[in-house]
Symmetry: C2
Subunit: 178 residues, 2 copies
């Protein structure tokens, strides 16, 4: 192994935009070679995503995603509220989006795209689901679909979901439960 | 299956920031229930990522990621240049980051985080690698590591990489080649 290349030191920066969900920062950094460079960073509160299994089915949500101008099938997911515990957030989002609560097992956490954002997703595995709905967000329009687990696994293995966390979550849990 | 919830119609919008890599837009949309809502969208040129195998090893790059203030181990990846073909981009990025070119097989394409950005990653599987380096980007400081494929697979199955595309790419290719 070679030496680490060392970090990039922040020289200065400014907040270009602070929105409902995102904060955009533009920083000037000192590179390992002494030169300066600009870094655009989208600050995000972090999120959770949940693989929820019930009777050999996985709960997926179908929703219109404005950023990509199409409908997606995704595992339930949502942003952390301020100071919210990730497991509590996973339970809340599962109840809001699907109506169910379950036992929550943390699988792993990962960055969605570390080249430009600090968004982290905490992935949970929910089982022993019981009906215990919470009112969803006002502006969220989603349908819940129960999809055969084996079908979802096959779709993920074939790369047929277009959402990274959905395929990754399914493949990771498939590895756990065989 | 239930009816689709329909799309969100753009009413108006503005470009809040146009940077080197990202464009931040804030739009007002009409929801399916007739109400208006704000949508923050990070427009991204799209990217490629490459699983490159050689002699039972996978090529990983180690680099400091400013957005998350830590070093990561990731599969080679990079942004599309304007009008660049994804496969040509994958070859270019592999040569720039690792020095190798290879045969390129498209595995699938996915959105990294469709809740707020249109960034898509085109995933490629590179084999039959030959040494054919291209000069890397001036501001990129990366180390290349050859990691035993079986070790990388185990790390991905355990959720031990912190980068989504790296784990997803490894698990998808593992499913292909057994």
């Amino acid at each position: 192994m070679e030496e680490s290349n060392g970090k990039e030191e922040r020289i200065k920066g400014e907040v270009l935009f602070k929105g409902r969900m995102l904060r955009l920062e533009q920083d000037v950094v000192r590179l390992p070679n002494g030169r300066e460079a600009s870094r655009e960073v989208v600050r995000h509160p972090g999120a959770v995503a949940i693989i929820a299994l019930q009777d050999q089915h996985v709960l997926l949500v179908r929703q219109y995603r404005y950023a990509i101008a199409q409908e997606t099938w995704e595992i339930p997911a949502g942003k952390l509220d301020l100071n919210e515990n990730p497991e509590a957030c996973a339970q809340r989002e599962l109840r809001e989006e699907t109506g169910y609560r379950g036992t929550m097992e943390h699988i792993c956490s990962f960055y969605t795209t570390p080249g430009f954002t600090d968004e982290v997703i905490h992935l949970y595995f929910a089982r022993d689901l019981v009906w215990d709905p919470l009112a969803p967000d006002d502006d969220e329009f989603i349908d819940v679909e129960k999809v055969l687990w084996d079908v979802a696994v096959l779709k993920a293995q074939r790369g047929e979901f277009n959402d990274a966390k959905t395929m990754l979550g399914i493949l990771l849990v498939k590895g756990l439960i065989g």
